[in-house]
């Protein structure tokens, strides 16, 4: 299929892009890496009147890694972000998650922020952003604002971004040295969107889980935080099988998995506990 007709505009600055969004609102779509938008256009799943290509906005290519954490501008590609994070901390959640995002060729075009802006419920990065307490930076006619990932993701392909706002970057705070990460997903084929996945971190002191964050993707309309399971693990020793069992039971109870035509909620629940088990295993392994 071919896209429906659209006007193509390629502003050179964030301000110009925002002005276009302010002018055209819902009629406009931002084009970043195009790895999701182009197929959606070609299949006529969406038919924006105006395409605002942000690829000429050099300022959005910036990424930084410092004591405060990682910042990725809206044009930072998955592949570049991965290389940078891996060099900084190979055990980091993003270093583990990014190889699961699509295939290498796609990761060279697709952007971190594009993935967040899209808010696909089965995507890895929104769950990672929630898990990491990342902040999404938006630029609008009234200036810039930051939203926590948890506040940003609202539902199926919907976020708190207003039609006149551009996602300009994402900021991932650096977590303490006692943080352990865990990431896994279940997919039929390498590079596919996951049937179900889990992004997780834990604060581990003396073999004990002081605190943890468990965020599932593919489980609901947006990243799902398994709060009951988190509570069941809080304070438990890493090798406390009973606590793990309680957490698994909590996951089963709390995950209101959307019925899935292909895989069914029962199967997804089974995966949810299996993933939890694997993640605890990852926390135990030296990182």
């Amino acid at each position: 299929m071919k896209p429906a007709p659209f006007h193509y505009l390629a502003p050179a600055t964030v301000e110009a892009a925002v002005a276009l969004l302010a002018e055209h609102g819902d009629e406009a779509a931002v084009l970043a890496g195009g790895q999701s938008l182009m197929p959606m256009l070609a299949l006529r799943l969406t038919a924006p009147a105006i395409l605002v290509d942000i690829n000429r906005i050099g300022a959005l290519e910036r990424q930084s890694i410092d004591a405060a954490g990682y910042s990725f501008g809206a044009l930072v590609r998955h592949a570049d972000a991965w290389a940078a994070v891996r060099a900084d901390d190979p055990a980091h959640l993003l270093a583990r998650a990014l190889p699961h995002v699509a295939h290498q060729a796609i990761r060279h075009r697709g952007t971190i922020c594009g993935s967040l802006a899209l808010a696909d419920p089965a995507a890895e990065l929104p769950a990672c952003a929630v898990c990491l307490d990342a902040e999404i930076e938006l630029a609008g006619p009234a200036g810039r604002r930051r939203l926590t990932a948890d506040a940003f993701f609202e539902g199926l392909y919907t976020t708190a971004r207003r039609p006149d706002e551009l996602v300009v970057g994402v900021h991932v705070p650096r977590l303490g040295p006692d943080t352990r990460f865990g990431f896994d997903e279940v997919a039929r084929r390498h590079g596919d969107y996951a049937i179900l996945g889990l992004a997780a971190r834990a604060l581990v002191v003396d073999g004990c889980i002081k605190d943890c964050r468990l965020v599932y993707f593919g489980a609901g309309a947006r990243p799902v935080v398994a709060t009951a399971a988190q509570a069941a693990l809080k304070g438990a020793a890493l090798d406390d099988g009973h606590a793990h069992g309680r957490a698994a039971a909590a996951v089963m109870g709390e995950l209101a998995i959307d019925p899935d035509l292909r895989y069914g909620a029962t199967y997804k629940r089974q995966l949810a506990t299996a993933l939890l088990k694997r993640i605890i295993g990852q926390w135990k392994a030296p990182q």
Binding site: P3, R189, D192, Y267, Q270, K277
Partner: protein, 793 residues
């Protein structure tokens, strides 16, 4: 046997030559259908049915016709004056229900994706814009989705005028089946569910048609497996002489049986070109491909197997339903699949009795058709699974069970219980070779050790018989005009190189390379000196194209005889010029040599003389340096091939994911003309078989709405999911031909899904899980079977 060069170092037959054309294709210099453009061409887009069954109340195209860039919007009413409707009739299927089919819907639709109207515009994008402006009102009718429900008394009718959804019924029986089951020491039975899948070609279907009114000539380029057949049917449907229809297949990016039919949308494009007098191009996008290419292999089969106390197979009994979709595909009929699925049941084994019955039913789904290894994979999975179940019930090695029961007629021939004539088979030799290829004893030890360590591993086997290179009896006696013969034309150019033209088709499988190798040996020239053209009805001879693994067995034989004929002509001409008896001359590597292999004259010099200085020949000699050979096998309806496959799989106990760790195939396709290409044919086929076993599924909901619109939903196996595939060969020559070649193109697909199914069940059994008899083996199914403890002792 070919008498010369074969076996010598110069021989091309048997050499692993990479396909010459691959270089161009890999470099992006291929010329596929969409690379061809004509002046004044317009682009086609179809309005396709969004619903499985409906009566069309109103179809209003005037707004669409005013859409920018639109040249015309056509419906069946517009095409009917220049195009016939058709019915799929075949005497091979007595009683076959044959509803009328039209290129665009005639007042109602019977499946999602059925073409309703055709927009022609300056670009495909503009055509798609206009499609959205067509006004369509319809009344949805109840639809039939589930094949097993199609014959229920209250089932809605796909074609009300037929009075039933039954398209055809198959029944065959030999021996005393009841007595065999009554006397059996072991009876195993299973209900098998095979889900629809399709052959996903890299290049989608496409057609470009141009009509020249002054000559009444239709010129067509098509991504098609059989341009000659398409030429014939376009002539019939558009009422043109075949001499007025030219079809050219340029590079074709895969066929697998998808591109061997007469599709309504493709006929509509040709009719539109005729109406408009402008070239019309249509290239299916992936969404259209997935919903309108033929699907295949939707069967539910209940089957049982009887075994005596000594472990000898006694009888097989199967009852099945095949869902063929809205129509039986034109011209060959979708019922071929059931015919082959039933006839090849139990084929590797000696059975005293067999019964097979099947209902072939219409549904409101896409048409099904002949996908690679037509029907065989169904029979193979049923048979091989039952054999494994019987071996397990008896507590014996599944390979011992097979070895004991193989049907091998040795030098003779015999019939399988369901009526296939088999000969020149090598089951035992293939099994021996497989055990060696796998290093079976060591492999089994390592599987046992890894199981001890907690892995869920399974090893599965599947023996098979694949009927190849179908002869003229099959379609000829059915009254269906399908060429089972092939022809090669061959001529010497003035520089001594050869110009060849074949009625066969090249789809990427390498038939062209194999034919060149045979021609090179048959004539005595280097392969580089042969230019072979295929896929052009205007210049090439009429023939079969690509179907039923015919390239080597039929095309190769035609090439051999054409080459030998030309060689005879060349030597006769040389003899006349050199005043030497032809018998004293030979043609080696493009040189005419004497008995001592001394060069007398080059073929180039001879050809130059023939073409430009013919007066140098003695009076009365008029050399004919061009020949044609039409080859049709006179005996044997089909050539049986055989082999065995094995799969090693690993099941994830937490997710039900199946990983293929290794796959082995030993195949006997008679003489191997090019081992490299034969091996790759097998490997490609295995990938499609594994795809069927684990991933591929054209999903519909119960109301027959189509669910898989893209390759994100329809899962094809990719490199990361595929294991190494080890291929071994046994060469038992077909004795009915000179080369002794048999078909090689479909064997990989035939048994791969059966081997994986057996391997997964072997893994499940090893951990006390349940049985599975449904493909694709989705992770939820596998996980449920892993957790099923009802069989545990």
């Amino acid at each position: 046997m070919p008498d010369r060069l074969l076996g010598s170092t110069e021989a091309q037959i048997g050499a692993s030559r990479p396909r010459a054309r691959s270089r161009a294709l890999l470099a992006g210099r291929g010329r596929y259908l969409d690379d061809i453009n004509l002046p004044r061409q317009v682009h086609a887009a179809f309005l396709r049915s969004p619903v499985p069954a409906a009566v069309i109340d109103r179809l209003e195209v005037s707004a669409a016709a005013r859409s920018p860039g639109v040249v015309a919007v056509l419906t069946w009413a517009d095409l009917a004056p220049v195009c016939q409707a058709w019915r799929t009739l075949s005497a091979a299927f007595p009683g076959l229900a044959a509803p009328e089919q039209t290129p665009l819907a005639n007042g109602r639709v019977t499946s999602v994706g059925e073409p309703i109207a055709l927009v022609l515009a300056a670009s495909r994008a503009l055509a798609e814009d206009a499609v959205a402006a067509i006004e369509l009102d319809w009344r949805e009718r109840p639809a039939v989705g589930v094949a097993t429900a199609a014959l229920a008394a209250d089932a809605p009718l796909v074609h009300p005028e037929l009075g039933s959804n039954l398209a055809w019924r198959f029944a065959a029986e030999t021996g005393d089946v009841a007595a065999a089951f009554a006397s059996a020491a072991t009876v195993v039975e299973e209900r098998f569910v095979f889900s629809r899948h399709t052959g996903v070609t890299l290049e989608p279907r496409g057609i470009l048609a141009a009509f020249e009114p002054s000559e009444g000539r239709l010129e067509v380029w098509a991504s098609h497996q059989m341009p000659h057949q398409l030429q014939l049917h376009l002539g019939e449907l558009l009422e043109l002489a075949m001499s007025q229809v030219r079809v050219t297949a340029s590079d074709v990016g895969g066929g697998f049986g998808v591109k061997m039919h007469v599709y309504p949308d493709e006929v509509a494009v040709c009719a539109a070109a005729r109406l408009l007098g402008r070239p019309v191009k249509f290239v299916a996008d992936r969404l259209e491909s997935l919903m309108s290419d033929i699907h295949a292999r939707e069967h539910v089969i209940e089957a049982r197997l009887a075994v005596d106390a000594e472990g000898r197979l006694l009888a097989i009994d199967a009852k099945g339903v095949q869902g063929i979709g809205s129509h039986s595909v034109f011209p060959r009929s979708s019922t071929v699949e059931t015919l082959m699925a039933m006839r090849t049941l139990g084929a590797p084994y000696g059975l005293a009795a067999a019964r097979a019955q099947a209902d072939v039913v219409f549904q409101n789904k896409a048409m099904t058709g002949q996908y690679r290894s037509v029907g065989h994979p169904i029979a193979c999975a049923v048979t091989e699974r039952l054999v494994d179940m019987a071996a397990r019930a008896r507590g014996e090695d599944p390979l011992a069970m097979r070895r004991r029961n193989y049907l091998e007629p040795g030098d003779g021939r015999c019939r399988t219980a369901l009526g296939l004539e088999v000969f020149d088979l090598s089951h035992v030799a293939c099994l021996d070779r497989l055990e060696a290829l796998m290093g079976l004893p060591a492999l089994r030890q390592s599987v046992a050790a890894r199981r001890q360590a907690g892995e869920v591993l399974g090893l599965g086997f599947a023996a098979f018989v694949e009927m190849t290179a179908t002869g003229s009896e099959v379609y000829g006696m059915a009254g269906v005009p399908v060429a089972a013969a092939d022809t090669i034309q061959l001529a010497v150019e003035p520089d001594g190189s050869l110009k060849a033209s074949a009625s066969l088709s090249e789809l990427g499988q390498g038939t062209d390379e194999g034919l060149v190798q045979v021609l090179a040996d048959a004539v005595g020239v280097a392969p580089e000196r042969i230019g072979l053209e295929m896929g052009r009805t205007a210049s090439g001879p009429h023939g079969g194209g690509a179907w039923a693994s015919r390239g080597a067995a039929i095309g190769g034989e035609a090439a051999w005889h054409a080459g030998r004929k030309l060689r005879g002509q060349i030597l006769a001409a040389a003899a006349a010029l050199l005043q030497t008896p032809a018998a004293a001359l030979d043609l080696v590597a493009g040189c005419i040599v004497d008995a001592q292999r001394h060069e007398r004259i080059t073929l180039a010099a001879l050809a130059r003389t023939v073409h430009f200085a013919g007066h140098e020949f003695p009076q009365g000699t008029l050399p004919q340096l061009q020949v044609a050979h039409h080859y049709r096998r006179e005996a044997d309806i089909a050539i049986p091939t055989n082999g065995i496959q094995a799969a090693l799989v690993q099941l994830c106990p937490e997710t039900g994911l199946v990983r293929c760790l290794q796959h082995w195939v030993v195949h006997d396709c008679g003489r191997i003309i090019n081992p490299l290409l034969a091996g790759e044919q097998v490997r490609g086929g295995v990938v499609q078989g594994i795809g069927a076993a684990l991933f591929e599924h054209c999903r519909y909901d119960a109301q027959a709405n189509f669910l898989d619109g893209s390759l994100a939903d329809y899962l094809v196996p990719m490199a990361m999911e595929m294991p190494d595939i080890a291929v071994g060969h046994v060469e038992t020559l077909y004795r009915g031909s000179t080369l002794g070649a048999k078909g090689a193109g479909e064997a990989g697909t035939c048994a791969a899904s059966a081997a994986v199914l057996n391997a997964v069940n072997d893994a499940l059994a090893a951990v006390g899980g349940g049985r599975l008899a449904e493909i694709p083996l989705t992770p939820p199914l596998v996980l449920a079977a892993l957790n099923d403890r009802s069989n545990a002792g």
